[in-house]
Amino acid sequence: MQLAAGRAPWFPLPMVIVLVLLLSTPLWVARVGLYQYLALEIMIWMMFALGFNLLLGFTGLPSFGHGAYFGIGAYAFGLLQLKLWPNLWFDLLGAVLVTAVLAGLVGLFISHRRGIYYALLTIAFGQVFWFVANKWHTVTGGEDGLLNIQRLPADFGFVAFPLKSNGALFYFCLAVFALVLVGLWRLVHSPLGRILSAIKQNETRAAFVGYNIWLYKWLAFTLSASVAGLAGALFAMAQQSAYPNVMSLHNSGFVVMMVLVGGGMVSFWGPVIGATFFILARDLLGVYTEAWLLWYGLVFMAMVLFKPEGIAGIWQEWRGRLARRAAAGASGAAALSLIQRGADEAV
């Protein structure tokens, strides 16, 4: 992925557009026939997909079991709240830490691999976590999952905001999402982000200029899974439950499809586009047919076959074409003006 040369702005235009669009959803979402909870769900998936893309799009590591870390975040949030201390900050931070520790342990076993072996190991570990969630009834609630997870208030000491309504929870999640978005944006433009991208492009060369490839791959996996864990915790809060399906292979596949269809391989913003496209397709196509995933799957196949750069890639190509046309127009005009000047001078 080629990042723009020069200083990266703290708040680039696409970021402003995404945040303003999300912030303003209460004003227009009902008018277009949608509902507030959908915007909340899209935002949580955006966060999950952005974190996942740090691994797939930026480091080039295909994890097909990332749903497990989304699920671990959801379960950890629920368990910490139900069994330890019902405090929003403690539970959220705890969920991220639990996910980071488990992902860090998995990372120890997979970070020396790449390509298909890496992908297979992530699936295997993902299935292990899913199996544990399904079978460890006394802790996870088995197939029923954890129910009665509360939307705890955001208590700042001097003031506490209740988050029981979808609207309030939406604004809370938006604040968290904005922080994650800015954080990931800074990260991909930092030396760490550049090195991860260099490893994606040429692992051998990166090793021979002095980088510890294993450590960077481990870090990318752990960071990416931690973001998934945070998204999972927010999802548990939104759903007021955590159940095995959130960490299934299906969910792992969904996030891959979001990133690829959106264009995560060529753009930081691909996962944002992909998550929106996926959840909207689910809801809008789902009204007409239960087989909406079949149609989405066809779109996914078409995209992989004909435009693997995804929607962001189509946008980039279109803008590039416009820019080239404008440049050609400008040089043509300059040539015309030169001819005209020559003719004037001759006269």
């Binding site: 040369a5 930092s190 550049r194 090195i195 002095g210």
Partner: protein, 247 residues
Amino acid sequence: MKLFEATGLSKRFGEQVVLEDITLSCDEGELVGIMGPNGAGKTTCFNVLTGRYRPDRGTVRFAGRDITGLAPREIARRGISRSFQIMNLFDDYTALDNVLVATPRVRAQGFNPWRDLGADRGAQEEAAQVLAQVGLAGKERVQARSLSYGERRALEIGVALAARPRMLFLDEPTAGLGAEGTARLAELVASLRRHLTIMIIEHDMKFLFSLADRISVIHWGQVIAQGTPDELRRNEWVARSNLGALA
């Protein structure tokens, strides 16, 4: 004391012996050439010396320290850089970013998730100087994959130089270059040897004989002859193999 010393190196892949009792050395500031026919084991030798493969026997010492079997990153951090016979670049990055990522300055900040590398003027200038040194001034913003073959060869050396090495290994740097490109590269290597110790594998005998202080000939995985270019021209095996005549 030699700056670089490899003693009794052996390497086999399965039943096939690729290197057998190789001994090579370099003084500080020296340019040592390695020549030999295709499949002689020259690149495998480089791969063992720079940490890609662990030798089965033998030792490698650099600046008085044993570096045998260390990982490439550890060897790189001790001051050894290399270029590759088959080009190894960060193709999606610009020429500047290729060099930038290889600088010790960026390496030292490798785990910093906040600093904006695009705003680090010092690092960018340092990288631009390296590009100018290898003749790529003005190509800073060109994607590596869009550079010409000769420019990519130069960038390959630029990436190796960006690590600020004390010793440089160049694996067939003239491969695929025309006469003009080879001449430019000879100038570059001549300028580099003023402050670097260089070991170079090369098939272009004219290029190698004009630059090297000493040359080792590897064949069937063994060093079969060593000496100055003049000594090697008189060497019976080299004369018989026609390698010397090419110089």
